[in-house]
Amino acid sequence: MLEFKEVTKTFEGSKKPAVHKLNLSINKGEFVVFIGPSGCGKTTTMKMINRLVEPSDGQILVEGTNVLDQDSVQLRRSIGYVIQQIGLMPHMTVGENISLVGSLLKWSKEKQRERAKELISLVDLPEEYLNRYPHELSGGQQQRIGVLRALAADPPLILMDEPFGALDPITRDGLQEEFKKLQKEVDKTIVFVTHDMDEAIKLADKIVIMNAGEIVQVGSPDEILKHPANEFVEDFIGKDRLLQSRPDVTRVEQIMNANPITVKEERTLKEAIQVMRDNRVDSLLVVDEIGTLKGYIDIEMIDAQYKKRSYVYEAMDTEEYSVHKSDLLRDTMYRMLRRGSAYVPVIEENDRLVGIVTRAALANMVYDTIWGDETAEVAAAD
């Protein structure tokens, strides 16, 4: 699909090449993430693919054709491109932004509109947004549009340069999940640049670690975590690796507490408080007769609504975030930590509540990972 052969780029006026003799081949449908410290040549490598930067030496083949043998404008129209600054045109509506490449390709207005509608239905945004202007959207919504814009002409290859880098952690998390799903649906080859190891591990089929213009290691997230090629890679993965090499295989089920404190939705608020008091907790998971997770309720909600409402189901919050018991901790741990909530409910099929993971449980696991071996050694020495 995409092949780099001895690709070198030396910018005018600089002696050291920004990218040096890079060899890499990327398969169709693969999600490849370039990662490395700032200035190591990730962006340069990516921009050589759509010729925003011209290689000084070597060849880049897209589906067998050297990019330098193609008209640069045509080439770019056939490759999706998403940048960190999002780059939505402020004077165009969201719809016009999405159909920008379509308009360059001289699609009919009708076709442009149809395609925009089709695309916006892929993400969690209402169709009315097509008539809004970018500044009316939040950062996360804007970058969703940025991604859709790159998908508009259905290019087989999409380049993304730190697309989620400017978003706050929670928005970024949501978008990463959503995007990973989307990628599976649309079946694209994706070249993605980041300097965030979490992001790389979460999204990549193949990680390419770069340093000073050269590739240091290429491999799947697991391979890289388990067998870092050298000290640089180890340092680069750093503290994260300690946490991640174990969550790699550990499932949520293994660390969850299987006896969460719950209350049935048709109980009264007074009964709910009683349960909290008896168990010395300040919030409860709400379930129905057969144990389906319905939401949660905490002491503040009860306090605020005690006069107006009498039953749990009237006062509870149904926006409950949960993880599946067979999820890998690797995929969920950072989400859990970053959300900052004290616990996450664990469900199985049909939203049945089976447990709860608390921050304390995570702390235990991290402790075991970091000092577990040491403790074992000390014990053995005794």
Partner: protein
Amino acid sequence: MEAIITTLSAYGWDLLEKTGEHMFISLAAILLGVSVAIPAGILLTRIPKVADRIISFVGVLQTVPSLAILAFLMPFLGVGVLPAIIALFIYSVLPILRNTYTGVMEVDSSLKEAGRGMGMSNWETVRKIELPLALPVIMSGIRFATVYLIGWATLAAFIGGGGLGDLIFDGLNLYQPS
């Protein structure tokens, strides 16, 4: 009050006609200025290294007194409306050129890059991104030039270009301090 009414009834038509001429000269010069300075301003953004020097040079032209320019143009273009328009046009170039250049340079570079990365040709980048986004700045240059030119157009009278200058200079010549 009475004096104004007598003046208007005597010179009313004249005034109207001269105003018409005045407007025509100014607007023709502005249109000419717009059609030269905007493309030139955009071209300058493609050669930012020398753009500043070129703009300074045009700025120097601007400081030549208008009468001198009129006098300079006379041997080539003679007298009448055309040389007047050309002289004024020269003055309209700088503000429009400068504002076009700054306006386009100020367009967020990530937008230009997004445009290029999506496969816009040079011309498409100009038409779909740079011009629309620089428009407010360009317009303020045009507005500035227009106000400026309507004032300068008075001098057109000196080379037979007509306009309100005719009336003003007639008035000044005929004025007898009592």
